[in-house]
């Protein structure tokens, strides 16, 4: 009889601790590494600009996508590197804000060369904007 009660108390305590840990993790979790997120679409810069001009970017918002294009420029501001990708035809660029752990890859990049990134699509202003990008 006592053993059954102890079992119940043990299960209840286990559940309570588990729920507390999960809740704390959910509240304090920062954005996960983009490398760990599933890519839902692979596009070229040209295809992504086409989707933007066609007003059909909505399907990819807050999702991880892979984009390849020509590196036009690298900008550094507020401790963040941003890659500007171009398709060579449009004045609309793909702006990729890099994740902080990508800094060591910057010296290997060359303007005018093809680069492939994976990032989270946030939307567009004059350009199409991706955050938390990783170079792949």
């Amino acid at each position: 009889m006592i053993k059954r009660h102890l079992d119940k108390i043990f299960v209840a305590a286990f559940l309570l601790i588990s729920i507390t840990i999960i809740t704390i993790d959910l509240i304090t979790r920062s954005d996960r590494n983009t490398n760990e997120k599933r890519t839902i679409k692979q596009l070229t810069t040209n295809e992504l600009i086409f989707e933007y001009k066609n007003q059909s970017l909505g399907q990819f918002i807050e999702k991880a996508i892979e984009v390849d294009g020509i590196l036009k420029e690298i900008k550094y501001k507020n401790d963040i590197y941003t890659l500007y990708l171009t398709d060579g035809n449009h004045k609309t660029y793909i702006l990729c804000e890099l994740q902080s752990d990508q800094i060591e890859k910057i010296p290997q990049l060359n303007i005018g060369e093809k680069v492939k990134i994976k990032g989270i699509l946030k939307g567009h202003l004059m350009d199409v904007i991706l955050l938390n990008c990783v170079i792949i």
């Binding site: 954005d31 918002i61 946030k122 939307g123 202003l125």
Partner: protein, 187 residues
């Protein structure tokens, strides 16, 4: 012969002045990745987010400034805050941008030193547009312009609804700051 030379000279002067005026006409400046931050201070919790995806055009001929801010590009310390901000408070699916359109009062582009001025304009957040006066500094550095400033916005003014359970965590008054570094706009 002299007449022909004179005509050629007049044509050359006309061409030169046309070229010069075209060169001087570059009066639009652009910032593709302006910085906008906001702070919410309460005794329970301080919330801060930064966004490097604000697009702004500054016309020094008309003193007009236009800004578009991509709301989903605000970066928070915790991902749950980002989720609440976009899904519950701002409803970024419906209102992906906040915008500002205004004019700098008494701005003089010929002054090389920093100018502190008021920018009067309309700020739109979600489906609400309000007239605002923003105190800002305008500096000219290497032929380009830097505009910095800030404003306080009241969440009740912009139809931002915070659940009663979370209201002690979010200030009624949000402090917004911005820092835009413009360069000449080549269209």
């Amino acid at each position: 012969m002299n007449k022909t030379l004179l005509l050629i000279l007049i044509a050359f002067i006309n061409y030169s002045s046309h070229f010069t005026s075209k060169k001087d006409y570059k009066e639009e400046y652009i910032e593709r990745q302006g910085e906008v931050s906001f702070f919410s201070y309460t005794p329970v919790e301080n919330i801060q987010a930064t966004n490097n995806q604000a697009l702004s055009i500054f016309d020094i001929k008309t003193n007009e400034v236009a800004v578009r801010i991509l709301m989903r590009a605000f970066v928070f310390k915790k991902s749950l805050m980002h989720e609440h901000f976009n899904e519950s408070y701002i409803e970024s699916d419906l209102y992906p941008e906040a915008t500002f359109s205004g004019k700098i009062i008494d701005f003089d582009p010929s002054i090389e030193t920093m100018q502190t001025r008021i920018i009067k304009g309309d700020f739109t957040l979600k489906d609400v547009t309000k007239s605002v006066d923003i105190k800002a500094t305008i500096s000219k550095v290497d032929g380009n312009y830097i505009i910095k400033g800030g404003l306080d916005i009241l969440i009740d003014d912009y139809n931002i609804k915070v659940p009663a359970l979370l209201s002690p965590n979010i200030s009624k008054k949000i402090e917004v700051t911005f820092n835009f570094k413009y360069s000449q706009h080549e269209k």
